[in-house]
Amino acid sequence: MERRFTTDELEQFLKQEADNFKMMPSKKVWHGIYNDIHPGRRWPSITISLLLISTLIFIGHMNTPNASLSHNQKSNNSGKNNSAAVTAKAGTDHKSPKDLNNQGTSQFLSGNNETHPAAESGASGITLEQPAADKVYNKAIDESRESKINVPKTNGNDIAVDQSNVPVLQAELSDQAIVSPGIDRNILPAEIEVLSAGSKNSEHIKEKILADNPVNFFPEKQMTIINDNLSAPAPAVMNKYAGETADDRKADKQVQSNVNSQKPKAISKTRRNYKLTYTYFFGPAVTNVSFRGTPISPSVFLSTNTSIMPLNYRVLNHAAFGFEAGAQMNYAFAPKWKFTAGLHLTYSGYNIRSNEMHPTVATLILRDPDSHVNYSRQYFSHYGDGTGLTPVNIKNHSLQASLPVGLQYQFFTGDKVQLNASGDIEPSIVLNSYAYLLSSDGRNYVNDPSLMRKANMASNFGVFLSFGSEKFTWQIGPVVRYQWFSTYKKDYTISEHLLNYGIRIGITPFRK
């Protein structure tokens, strides 16, 4: 079958065919449109995401060794253009001070295998603000210009190398042989001193530097000296000494002793708080229940129907498994005492032995807690008191989130094991609950979520053993949790209290 078209008909044909053409867009198109036109509805997910991310970052930060130290180093490195610290350079390699003592400084002073004794022996552990160092350095240059000192290279060995700063220095010192090309502007006062130690007027320069820049040599305010770094010089230093004259060695030793005599006695700038630890725990629990109070007799409330008398008010129940989990912060405020706080999740419940029955009207006689006026509610119930022929288990359970605040006491400390006891009070919010209440005549179970308490209070007591592994401290021990307030509101005159017995398994990461 053929149809004929003119040129205009071609356009018509094209339009017709194009209009008939349809494609189904993918779901993501609508999602994109929806998210764009309803941005407010994205806030819950964004908020949760941000909360999760910030929590992860916080946990990661808290568990990262040397986090605070790195922060210090970064703060020394950044913010000022010329504020570079010697230890910051070494620290960026994330090496321990001990490692730095052995190799860090000699590696950082690149371009030459040999480094200056002062740098070798003490500089690796020194944090010095660069402006101060610049001041000392420039002063030394001025002094040497004045005195026309021509400081020799120490045995022909170049010292520090940082090519980025070379042009400036070379421009300044082009007519002098104070330093070899490539001296680093990050040079230390100690290096300056040793630089000038071999000169004729070295003593004069040292005295001048000390007089003009006393703060640089009273490092309590500017230096963090790690003990080990100022110990005996490295072998490279000894080799360097071997090539020097006796006067040079004497001058260097004097400078060294000068620095050592004025250094602080191990100023620890660590911000790590060893008193603060975090414990994450989980553990199974078994829940028992106790009831208090007496039901309001239907005969009292319904005076016209005195035949309704309460039967044996008894909830046939047996324990059920639950669990607890959470995170806890421990702060040691005394040698054996710790303050604890955190977030706990507790799932607890118990099973009720009931029996299925035909739907029956069941009555709860309740009492208004304010006016103490009795009132009743009727329910259709499918569950009997457990004495029927078709037994069935129904479960009462609740999930609570609590913010515990408590204390922890250390009873015993052995080489590897500690024995601790802890106790806390836990204000709780009931996240989810489902409970059956025995009717006032004791014959049926009914469910009424409106009678459930939304907040509660509990106590937790436990004894646990702590023992350490390489990275963690493990805790294990029995815990008991008691719910102080009834599961139900005061309208229901029977109060239910849950008692959880559990084994808590906790883990506390070491904070190095």
Binding site: E2, T7, N20, P25, I33, I37, H38
Partner: protein, 191 residues
């Protein structure tokens, strides 16, 4: 849901009404976008951007015309804006060296006729197919096209003439239509 209810719901920012409107018009509008776009992903991006404009400007719709026509107009303008933004349309090579483009029949999927025609249109250079889409299918005049695309009216005419000639050749090659040009025959699907 009737069109009035949809419209009222969209004016009330009801997500259900917006979704209903989207479900009703999106298949056809994606077809429109597809004729302008380079591929399906680009077409979906155009569609998304277009519907966002539709919902944000729905209060400007006067119930004098069909809602679909109004939506379509916004979608077409969105497509043109995207092409302009991506500098696809202003590619002069497409406009003046189009005759040398190699046409591979295998690129045309042999499915429904409408799909074949659309695929033939899409094989045209960007400048050609844009003018052809606007003039022959969307019903814009050359003056309007010149205004929309920031080109001369004569350019629009010449582009359209060339586009139509190339499309005819394509359709003949694909045996959707047959010669002669003045008396074009359509070979119906299946014959």
């Amino acid at each position: 849901m009737t069109e009035e209810l949809m419209l009222q719901g969209c004016l009330d920012n009801s997500a259900a009404a917006q979704e209903a409107l989207y479900n009703r018009f999106s298949p056809r509008m994606l077809g429109v976008c597809y004729r302008f776009a380079r591929n399906r992903e680009d077409a979906e991006d155009m569609l998304q951007e277009g519907f966002i404009k539709v919902f944000s400007q729905i209060h400007q719709f006067r119930s004098q015309g069909a809602l679909e026509g109004w939506v379509r107009k916004i979608i077409v303008h969105t497509c043109i804006n995207v092409l302009k933004k991506n500098k696809k349309f202003t590619d002069s090579v497409d406009l003046f060296h189009a005759d040398s483009i190699y046409l591979n029949e295998n690129n045309i999927p042999s499915i429904l006729q409408a799909k074949q025609v659309v695929e033939c249109i899409r094989m045209l250079p960007v400048g050609y197919k844009t003018v052809l889409n606007l003039y022959a299918i969307e019903g814009y005049s050359h003056k309007e096209i010149a205004s929309i695309l920031d080109i001369e009216e004569s350019t629009s005419r010449s582009q359209y003439t060339r586009a139509k000639a190339m499309l005819e050749a394509l359709l003949i090659k694909k045996k959707i239509i047959v010669q002669p040009r003045d008396k074009i025959k359509l070979v119906s699907a299946g014959s």
